[in-house]
Symmetry: D2
Subunit: 439 residues, 4 copies
Amino acid sequence: MAYKDEQLNEEKVFKDPVHRYVHVKDRVIWDLIATPEFQRLRRIKQLGTTNYTFHGAEHSRFNHSLGVYEIVRRIIHNFEDRPHWNEDERLLSLCAALLHDLGHGPFSHSFENVFKLDHEDFTQRIILGETKVNKVLERVSTGFAQKVADVIAKTYEDKLVVSLISSQIDADRMDYLQRDAYFTGVSYGHFDMERILRVMRPIDDQVVIKSTGMHAVEDYIMSRYQMYWQVYFHPVTRSAEVILSRILHRAKHLYEADDYIFKLEPTHFLSFFTGNVTLEEYLKLDETIVHYYFQMWQEEADGILRDLCERFMNRRLFKYIEFNPNMQMQEWKELYQLFQHAGIDPEYYLVVDSSSDLPYDFYRPGEEEERLPIHLQMPNDELKELSRNSDIVDAISGKKRTDHKLYFPKDLLDGLSDERMKRRIKEILNERGEIENDD
Amino acid sequence: MAYKDEQLNEEKVFKDPVHRYVHVKDRVIWDLIATPEFQRLRRIKQLGTTNYTFHGAEHSRFNHSLGVYEIVRRIIHNFEDRPHWNEDERLLSLCAALLHDLGHGPFSHSFENVFKLDHEDFTQRIILGETKVNKVLERVSTGFAQKVADVIAKTYEDKLVVSLISSQIDADRMDYLQRDAYFTGVSYGHFDMERILRVMRPIDDQVVIKSTGMHAVEDYIMSRYQMYWQVYFHPVTRSAEVILSRILHRAKHLYEADDYIFKLEPTHFLSFFTGNVTLEEYLKLDETIVHYYFQMWQEEADGILRDLCERFMNRRLFKYIEFNPNMQMQEWKELYQLFQHAGIDPEYYLVVDSSSDLPYDFYRPGEEEERLPIHLQMPNDELKELSRNSDIVDAISGKKRTDHKLYFPKDLLDGLSDERMKRRIKEILNERGEIENDD
Amino acid sequence: MAYKDEQLNEEKVFKDPVHRYVHVKDRVIWDLIATPEFQRLRRIKQLGTTNYTFHGAEHSRFNHSLGVYEIVRRIIHNFEDRPHWNEDERLLSLCAALLHDLGHGPFSHSFENVFKLDHEDFTQRIILGETKVNKVLERVSTGFAQKVADVIAKTYEDKLVVSLISSQIDADRMDYLQRDAYFTGVSYGHFDMERILRVMRPIDDQVVIKSTGMHAVEDYIMSRYQMYWQVYFHPVTRSAEVILSRILHRAKHLYEADDYIFKLEPTHFLSFFTGNVTLEEYLKLDETIVHYYFQMWQEEADGILRDLCERFMNRRLFKYIEFNPNMQMQEWKELYQLFQHAGIDPEYYLVVDSSSDLPYDFYRPGEEEERLPIHLQMPNDELKELSRNSDIVDAISGKKRTDHKLYFPKDLLDGLSDERMKRRIKEILNERGEIENDD
Amino acid sequence: MAYKDEQLNEEKVFKDPVHRYVHVKDRVIWDLIATPEFQRLRRIKQLGTTNYTFHGAEHSRFNHSLGVYEIVRRIIHNFEDRPHWNEDERLLSLCAALLHDLGHGPFSHSFENVFKLDHEDFTQRIILGETKVNKVLERVSTGFAQKVADVIAKTYEDKLVVSLISSQIDADRMDYLQRDAYFTGVSYGHFDMERILRVMRPIDDQVVIKSTGMHAVEDYIMSRYQMYWQVYFHPVTRSAEVILSRILHRAKHLYEADDYIFKLEPTHFLSFFTGNVTLEEYLKLDETIVHYYFQMWQEEADGILRDLCERFMNRRLFKYIEFNPNMQMQEWKELYQLFQHAGIDPEYYLVVDSSSDLPYDFYRPGEEEERLPIHLQMPNDELKELSRNSDIVDAISGKKRTDHKLYFPKDLLDGLSDERMKRRIKEILNERGEIENDD
């Protein structure tokens, strides 16, 4: 028996709080899960700093990756006897689902921003490089690793396979919405996935939805909308991310400065600072390593690095106000200078952060990120784009919502002794909006 | 207004997946949560290595501590108008509930065993020492920190207050059973807590249960029983703990050896090795630090330390068989020597681990750990010990169940080239029981 | 102690699957529940014929009434210490909540349509008439029954009290959405009621929502939208209602005809036929009585009554197609005549049924049904109408959606022997839309 | 294609709150569900009078029957590729599962007791008689109806098929425990059915449980235990049943008396009174018919019938005390006579009701009801009886628990004007136990 078709003696299951059980029968899947590269995902939280807002959100990307695999397994199980579906793509789809997030590092969002990285590149490099994961994949057949990488990069020729993990209603989104809702405990994020899976139909190069299931899809899109604004873009979470980014900036700045000597050298970060990250170094950097440095750096000589690390580790976050991106330059300059005069370096302590989301979009040729729409299969087999049939989806379709916030350390401002300066700063900040509490 | 009674302007809530919401009105509680000592609990998993078995179990002690606080808050809310309850003890009870696990370190079970520590000592030291927590508590009134420490140490005079967090049906157990069930996803661990809270009655120095609620308590005790054997004592979890303990032993051994030079010195562990742990050092050691060392030690010169760390980080665990504690010494010696001859040091690679639990016990004066029984309040106000009224509880009452397992690295045995030696080892191991898989 | 403030010796609870427990402390509430008029609600299903579509939906109005009471109890509990709330209205609010649906009869929707009744009139008559309910209420204080009736009729002067059970976000809606979702098993209908209750604020004559809770309200409005279209207006449910209405019409018709002699006289229906329903007769007619007649009428001499009753009792429902209300009169006439020629009386077997819903509306003075909008309380205490702040709600606000279906007995058409006639009928029907199955 | 293998064009699903979805692919199953005999189960509540205690328990036997079918469908789906399982028995198993409760009438327990009926006989008669159900079954193949009847009667030769719906861990029990827990809202009744289904193994003539699933089975058995005592045997439910039985007795008594003239003749009950129930009459008697009579009989001339019906319809139940079955005959006689003297006929108003349950039993040859034990399949394939491996099950195994209660109308006693008589009655009753409230 070829490794490709090799089955475990007995099906293995993982108890999963979201999907009840994750089922594994293929030896390849079992072996992939056991690789160090995949086990590493246990040490990277799915939602980065969100647990500072929702304390239950401590689940890892390991968790989520198993979930996406399980959903694709169920979709394929339903597809088995349908036309358009090529059963030969089964194992490929499962591997791609399991590994789609393999390249994520700790606090991806901040690291990618600060160091201009892309976790998707690393996913490719891990799958194609000298890794255990690559070895397991190549045992299936020569070139299989490349195929898996292609599916994840969306360049694989069979777009149907690609769409299982990368479309506006894919296994990735369906897992994280439910999983993040479960672990945070919020009441959004629930939809009838079992029904969606049952009305999915493979047609040529896409998965369409039997029109009788439209309402379950509406519910899914609304869940997505609510999760983005209630959980993913929560301003307290972003406050922690702002601090994290500033720490990375500061550490790089100090490293590049000639005269600063670290008590703890940023060994694990060096290649990130120089922009030349090797795969080996990348794989070593997980959340526990980052925490180690941040904890140690609380004793650094540099006041800013020390303060920011202490804030991050002990959750002493920045406060925020609504920020008007059309603020007068004059006023911004004044605020900036006031911070400088107060000795609160605005580069690190006065930060604008913006979030925006497009809950669903139909196809707009030529636009920067062309999104494939969700199609309904009508009783007469005609395909119809979702927003043309659903009032609710139509209402939010293509509408990008953006939110800007200005972050700053309220505690430092409160501590200023120059009362006039303090008053003026608060005046400008309050003109921008009420200073909000962090609940 | 004294700090004691100081209330927040508006009640704050934490979204909690288990209790829906955790409510905070008292300034003291809010301030305690914000201390670095309490925030540190975010970096210590509630269930140590259990996430190697149940991947959802990644929740922290921070999580659980808020939960215990919330349950005590609800109990006290129900007690408000009842006789026997002294409303003056309210804030004390809440603080003790919140802080009862404050002294836990990373992987407490293993660390305490290997280094002969007791996390309860550290809880006392954190509350009474030079800490932020202590400062907040002392602001309530002088000596308040000592009172909180006494409640947690069970030495406080008002035993009713003590029993809220330390009895056979306390807020601690009620939270962790439900929380651990929620995050692992197992179906055990559910019981009708709302009903139990409603039938709790403060009587003199204990909380008794109105007899109409007996069945909810039975259900709770069965949940506890199942959680112990299905989750807490799961042999795969224990396999990871066995490896962890051996790593600690090996590191200490190498440190004590004259001739070994660490690539990464065990700086954070030194005081643990020498048995003289300062509070400051203790507070620095969280799970992320432990993971940092274990990751780095995968590159140590010492083969055993390297291998064990690699196993732990990548979840390459030991296999196990049922172990008969009455095994003939002769046979054990042979097995031990065979491992030695095979070059697999039995001190690190042949480990017996035992677990035992007493699901419920009535009072047995003079026994080592005297447990206070659960009392039912009958319609005529008489008190009756639970197992005298419940067939189910009676059936398991006082019955200690113990389980012994022998752990070893099956992969190393499989790799032995001396076929006779390999066969003989497997022979002895198989006599002890089937080698089981890890699901 | 006045009856008004009389408390039960011990709080009573009802185990409720939706709200976990319903709590009763007031003697008046306990006594109201025990009246025959309230117990009668056990024999009237909350969702009429919906259980023919969702088999779990067999719950009664008794169920729902307790739920609304419980929600109002919790709202008031939160209001206790707030300004604007008059604690004297507590018992009045609770009684009105409990009794708000008291006048519902079996299959209200159909009965009210056919016999031009209004269940709200009967609620008034039961509360104010010679009933046990009235006696219990009047024991509170003379005129108390009238007050309760006024609250339910929305004429009570304190509009804040009225709004608890009659507004766009009231206890009535919050209970039925969750309860109907629970019993049908659909995944819609869930929202974070606990959060909504916590952000409700009594302000003058309305309940407003603290703006931080806006998203929970959005979720509630979307739930409502989905429940209407997925559950309440489900075409299979309406098919059963269509048949039910026709039975009532036919029975009235036969009664009014001079020459028809019933095997079972429609005694319980007589006053409905003549349009002069006494309270006593109304209270006697519950679902079991209706079922009794329908079962017996399966043996009537009249073929139409017999067939319709047999269809209703055995769930042999009509099929349906989308109906275009702008259908050419010519075509409709032809269809009508074809049915006549085929001997399938179109008065009973060719029925158009329309449903429409307005998910949320802001205030439009002068329109037929002026709806009070939901107001958000902004951080600066300003009130803002919901749809002005919420994109989602704005999207569906004021948009009425209507759905027309044409019902007919496909089995009878299939059985026609005149092939040309059959073909032509199906031709016309198919032009209107695909004949759909009933799942 | 034979009818036997005929599949629906597209799988149909029923939304089910307990199993999420019930799936139907076989034309036979679809047709069986549509028969009047099966639809009739919608008009019979699964738990009879339990909704007087747990108001949510209004679900019908229709509900439960679909659930049992669905569980068997899932079990068989898991068995597909296993040895010992004969795929030819698939459709037979599904039909038997669906129809196993077909012969239940309204309030079965009381009707069977009073009129010495057995619903299992009627199940046989409906399946084998001149019914729509029989016609559908015989279309599969001649004699198929008999086979289905044999499976339900446990006389079918393939005991493996029988055990799916009749054993100590069958689809029937697994459905009703979960379903009744869901609708009542109690927290008992939950167990990990998905896991149990996965560890079920067909071996010769029984279904055994892979030993790794033992704890899920323990949990199931404890659920069963709790449901029996907390829900099924709840004394308030039994109070309603006691009244119901007395109504049936009284109606029969009056019918048999020469001189009593009913205002509403008990037409539907006649054959029950005379002990010669035809199938047609049996099928006509559902809960709505019973309610119709009871409502009408509230206006009968006979005081006892009138009072009992009024009590039943309006839930004015009897109170109860613990009853000692070893009560002195002398004392019982006195009590009986006191009731007689008080004009409260003890035949109808002083009723002892007993319940008993055996939660699990191993095989005891020769005893009245030999129960087949649950067997575990150990890793070495040996079978081991459950209680030999499980401490908890062993503890309750074979232990019958019995509960006796004495029911009486406390309101009538309270209304007695002869104070001495009243006092003496209460004296005797109180000696037997505290008069309890009905919560």
